[in-house]
């Protein structure tokens, strides 16, 4: 559990004059659920895009799964899973076909895809939906399927960018059970959310404001540090007060 899964040091990104991420440093352990919180535009998504090899840092750097985020993009892409708030599933394909498609993208063999589909069916409870067209799925199921597609190749690190946006409370609770189970298996989870009750389930939280980290620690530490009763109060204090 003490193995360092993600290491970030003085990571920065500018777009022209605009500083999106300003010298950010943190470490995430293997099997940890690490939450990135912040207002829209605080720099969370830019940070994730640099860690997933989609965007080059302006300065600073780090490693993801031991691979250099400034150089070893291809290796990083093989060791991570990524699920965004606009999950890219093919609506005209069935659930099974979507998984087959992503299996092909990840270069998994046919037998391996079938094996993983069976495993995911059990873990995610896709059951009766496997042969249905994806367009017909309720949002909560689409979310689970998108998670399935992101972990099909058994990545060691999974990035979830607002995975539960717009989902009802019960579907969100079920989704977090899946996240907990993945983490218990040793998968590192880096997640962004606007639901402050979900933030309570992270092992540690990193609050970003105006491109910088303004507080980092476990939910209990943050509440104690900022004299607040909930993470929502911590957030409001840090973002509004800063």
């Amino acid at each position: 559990m003490n193995e360092r899964s993600v290491v970030v040091k003085n990571l920065a990104k500018s777009f022209g004059d605009f500083v999106a991420v300003d010298r950010v440093s943190f470490e995430v352990r293997a099997g940890e659920i690490f939450g990135l919180l912040g207002a829209n535009g605080a720099g969370k998504t830019t940070t994730i895009r640099m860690l997933t090899g989609l965007l080059r840092p302006t300065s600073g750097g780090g490693t993801v799964g031991g691979w250099d985020i400034n150089a070893q993009f291809e290796m990083i892409k093989k060791s991570i899973g990524y699920m965004s708030q606009r999950f890219s599933l093919y609506n005209d394909l069935t659930v099974k076909e979507n998984l087959q498609f992503f299996g092909g993208v990840y270069g998994l063999g046919r037998a391996r895809v079938e094996e993983r589909t069976a495993e995911l069916d059990e873990a995610l409870g896709l059951g009766e939906w496997l042969d249905r067209r994806t367009a017909a799925l309720p949002l909560g199921f689409k979310q689970r399927l998108a998670l399935g597609a992101a972990i099909l190749h058994k990545p060691a690190i999974v990035f979830l960018d607002e995975p539960t946006s717009g989902v009802d409370p019960i579907a969100r609770r079920r989704f977090w059970e899946l996240i907990n189970a993945l983490a218990a298996d040793g998968v590192t989870i880096i997640v962004t959310t606007h639901y402050m009750d979900e933030a309570e389930y992270c092992n540690r939280l990193c609050v970003m404001h105006a491109a910088k980290i303004v507080s980092l620690g476990s939910p209990a530490e943050l509440k104690a540090r900022h004299g607040a009763h909930s993470i929502e109060d911590v957030f409001i204090q840090l973002v509004r007060g800063a």
């Binding site: 207002a39 989902v167 019960i170 079920r174 939910p219």
Partner: protein, 306 residues
């Protein structure tokens, strides 16, 4: 003038074989904040599209300020402002140009338009960004611009479909402050949201599930429907308490809320869960537990399971 802001009577709607709404009836009083809550696919968006005269119901009728939505669509559209979930701002146009565009669509005359634009920029605090392209606004600011565009023809009824989904807590509070100011000016606000703490800000709400209304009323009337007990549990390690309780009852009945863990005794007796908590207290995991009144989210979970 005694018509309610919205009256819905026996509305049903199917999309092919899928029933979206089934005999839905309710009324919204003038000048109130009214919440439509329910899980994804419950029928909330379909209902809003019927109220805004964008689609017709298969059965039943609805009235907005006394105008029937089916035969009086033109009057209804004048009276109502609608902010759909996926609102369409023109990202290549500036803030001012977007407002101008929607004003022209609604046939707002020039003088009224100039005055209204001023009001809206002041109200939304978008004034300093008036020349910024909509595509370059933050998520919270886009939401405020979309709201301003929905308000450009000074509607008396405002319908908003999950306006704060995916918006951070600070922007969400700002947005609800704006809705409350509109309501105070006499605008009727009908809003859907997946955030249960926001639902509590509505004076009345209906809870929709699978196209039917399962419950309606004030927050107090809704939470009175909760059948079970809510325990608030404190201790040195909330995540450890949460994990223990999830294993002992059901994961979806346990959540960490602020500096306590809440567990719902649903389908299990209050005594049984109480005894479990007492055992955990003796084991040193729990320092204190007590019964607390149910909230909207607890009631939502309870109704969904019935």
């Amino acid at each position: 003038m005694n018509d309610p802001a919205i009256r819905v009577e026996g509305i049903s709607k199917s999309h092919g074989a899928a029933v979206a709404l089934s005999s839905v009836s309710f009324a919204v009083e003038r000048g109130e904040m009214f919440g439509l809550i329910g899980p994804d696919g419950a029928g909330k968006t379909t209902l809003m599209r019927i109220l805004t005269s964008l689609i017709d119901a298969d059965e039943g009728e609805a009235w907005v300020l006394g105008f029937p939505v089916r035969s009086g669509a033109a009057r209804v559209r004048e009276a109502i402002g609608y902010m759909p979930q996926h609102f369409s701002l023109y990202s290549d146009l500036t803030v001012a140009e977007n407002i101008r565009f929607f004003a022209d669509l609604f046939g707002v005359a020039k003088e009224a338009r100039v005055a209204r634009t001023e009001e809206l920029l002041d109200f939304s605090r978008l004034g300093p960004f008036v020349k910024r392209r909509a595509g370059a606004l933050s998520g919270g600011m886009k939401q405020k611009l979309a709201l301003s565009c929905a308000l450009v023809h000074t509607p008396r009824v405002l319908v908003l479909d999950e306006p704060t989904t995916g918006v951070d807590p600070v922007s969400r509070r700002d947005f609800w402050d704006m809705l409350e100011r509109l309501r105070a000016q006499g605008v009727t606000v009908v809003v859907s949201t997946p955030y249960m703490n926001e639902a509590s800000l509505c004076r009345h709400m209906v809870f929709i599930h699978k196209g039917r209304i399962l419950a309606s009323g004030t927050v107090g009337e809704i939470t009175a429907l909760f059948r079970g007990t809510v325990f608030s549990v404190e201790g040195p390690n909330l995540q450890a308490i949460s994990t223990r309780l999830k294993n002992a009852v059901e994961p979806e009945l346990v959540r960490i809320l602020g500096d306590a863990v809440q567990v719902l005794a649903l389908g299990r007796s209050r005594e049984e869960v109480g005894a479990l908590l007492e055992t955990m207290r003796q084991g040193g995991v729990v320092s204190h537990s007590r019964e607390i009144p149910p909230g909207v989210e607890d009631t939502f979970v309870s109704l969904m399971r019935e």
